[in-house]
């Protein structure tokens, strides 16, 4: 059964369109860099990063927001706006990886690691690492600036641009603040579930789901009722998505997630999962969690021990329950008559894959 016959928009075709806009844009930038005699490794890195995949979740949600508000078809300005969200996300991922000093992303070495390697000739290891981090930071900065250029060259009407800009601005500040909370809390997991949920809300639920939907809806001049209905879906499903991510980060396999199984525990991110475990663990287990989580030298046997505690305290099951409850809330919100049937089908599908996924 084809996507059209199933009533679902053709997600694969949408992804291809977004990827093609991004690839074309990067080629223009590569040609401009060559003309200015600027290092073409910048656009080379971005091209490879974008080609390695990614779910294109934010662009898909942007297009879905457009359709949810009654927008017809998938016009070029909508695709280009959607692509600008993916370019912005590229900035986020590159900077996050530098901040976390992550080693792998999408099954390949992270950009700062690749660039440290590329510039290691004649440098000490520490100097090469510094150059790698600086280069990746700058490529991220360019991706942020270029996400703007994609948006401003989307041929939006003045009314569309005026509707979208405040949402894009809010999205940027929210995810940056969310990351700020995250990096200042990492390494110090506490029993503060509320703070962990606030990070989830800003770094994921609003950034990944609500804002892309709203931006798409704003392109179609959606009334407040549509924005509200989309929020009622977006926030719980976005939280569920991140809670699933936290579980996968600890219990998933590298084959499934594309990153080493110990990264999340070694970073010691302040997750809801850890906060709950710290709340309910006995004194001895709590002490062990505090000692092992955030330890950059954590071994696989120690990680297995941590996983045992997270399961034994019931924290893992509680997070599963939180995911189910949020999924139910989101699906109920989808019944709102303000959302078009076509968008409802896609949002239903996304809710399913976000909460049951293994990668």
């Amino acid at each position: 059964m084809t996507a059209a016959a199933s009533g679902l928009p053709d997600v694969a075709a949408l992804r291809r369109k977004v990827t093609s806009v991004l690839a074309g844009f990067v080629e223009e930038k590569a040609a401009a860099a060559a003309e200015l005699r600027m290092p073409t490794e910048v656009t080379g890195c971005l091209r490879a990063f974008l080609a390695r995949g990614g779910k294109r979740l934010r662009p898909l949600l942007c297009v879905t927001g457009w359709q949810a508000a009654g927008g017809e078809g998938v016009p070029e300005p909508v695709i280009r706006t959607a692509a600008s969200l993916e370019m912005f996300h590229t900035f986020c991922l590159i900077h996050d990886d530098v901040m976390d000093d992550s080693g792998m992303r999408r099954g390949a070495p992270t950009l700062h690691r690749q660039l440290a390697r590329h510039h290691e000739h004649g440098r000490s290891i520490a100097d090469a690492e510094r150059v790698g981090a600086s280069c990746a930071t700058l490529i991220g900065d360019l991706a942020l600036a270029w996400s703007d250029e994609l948006l401003h060259s989307a041929a939006l009407t003045p009314a569309q641009l005026a509707a979208v800009l405040p949402l894009v601005s809010a999205m940027r500040s929210e995810v940056m603040y969310g990351q700020y909370l995250d990096v200042t809390t990492a390494g110090h997991p506490t029993t503060d579930v509320e703070r962990a949920l606030r990070i989830v809300r800003y770094k994921t639920a609003k950034y990944t789901v609500e804002r892309p939907l709203h931006i798409g809806a704003a392109l179609a001049d959606a009334p407040d009722t549509v924005h509200e209905a989309l929020s009622a879906y977006a926030l719980p499903i976005g939280e569920a998505f991140q809670l699933r991510d936290d579980l996968l980060g600890v219990f998933g396999t590298p084959q499934e997630t594309g990153k080493p199984a110990l990264d999340d525990l070694r970073e010691g991110k302040h997750t809801v999962l850890l906060s709950l475990a710290l709340q309910t663990a006995g004194a001895a287990h709590r002490e062990e969690l505090r000692r092992l989580i955030g330890n950059r030298e954590l071994t696989e046997p120690e990680a297995a021990h941590v996983r045992g505690i997270l399961t034994g305290t019931g924290a893992r099951q509680t997070v599963e329950t939180m995911i189910s409850r949020r999924r139910e809330q989101a699906l109920t919100a989808l019944e709102h008559p303000a959302i078009t049937p076509r968008a409802r089908a896609l949002l239903y599908h996304l809710a399913d894959s976000a909460t049951h996924r293994t990668s």
Copy 2:
């Protein structure tokens, strides 16, 4: 004699207006952060950074570009556009300091150092430094995003916005590429004067002088002749400005420059000064320069020795001559009839202070 009576625009008053727009904007962001229960240290850091001064050179040049093209007075949208350039520059400085791991800026500890200190409780030194660098990177990211918001809330006409956006985009990419060239070359000074001049052109001449003038001129719908006349002034004076900066970085005093006297030599930036010295030094001196420059443990006696070589090879004098020649070129370009007399007076004044300054 007052500024008005001298025929010069009142530079101090312009600086105050720009600073007041920036301060008001940061207060709005601080109020928004408090409402979202986001860490207010972000806006606190930006507020203090902006209050510690800076020459506001790019905003002044933006306003001058407006006047050079016949713009009347200093309307609010022009001031706000000018302020957005200062916010963008704040982003550049914060990220540059992280990349160079600079210790001082504007007579105070750099942002990443302050933030490492602020978050050191319960962390190892290495972890606190990582958190400090991450926080400063994020505050820089926010400053970049917010420079956009300042521009988009400047109440420009659609024609003004359309004229300005491509220039702002070009400015961003140029300075980021210039910095990319800089960080990948630092620590490896060579005899390649052309590459050193290319860094100067993109990181300073175009970014600091030409683009701000063009952006101001574009607000006044300037014809190509004005843009060209401004470029003929901007590029040589911008190069002279950076060449002076390179000399001050090596021969200036901390009292004058606000930063430690050894920073530039320790970073080993690939400057025209060093390239020239490497070209003309004898084998023994060349070897010493290669050994000492970029050495993060460089002592003051070693620095004095390097200064002796830079003077002895004639490189210092050659750079002085390059500055004079560029200053002459710039002043000649100012005679172009397309530039208004009022703007000419200010540009003459800026050329003087850029090339004769001590800080």
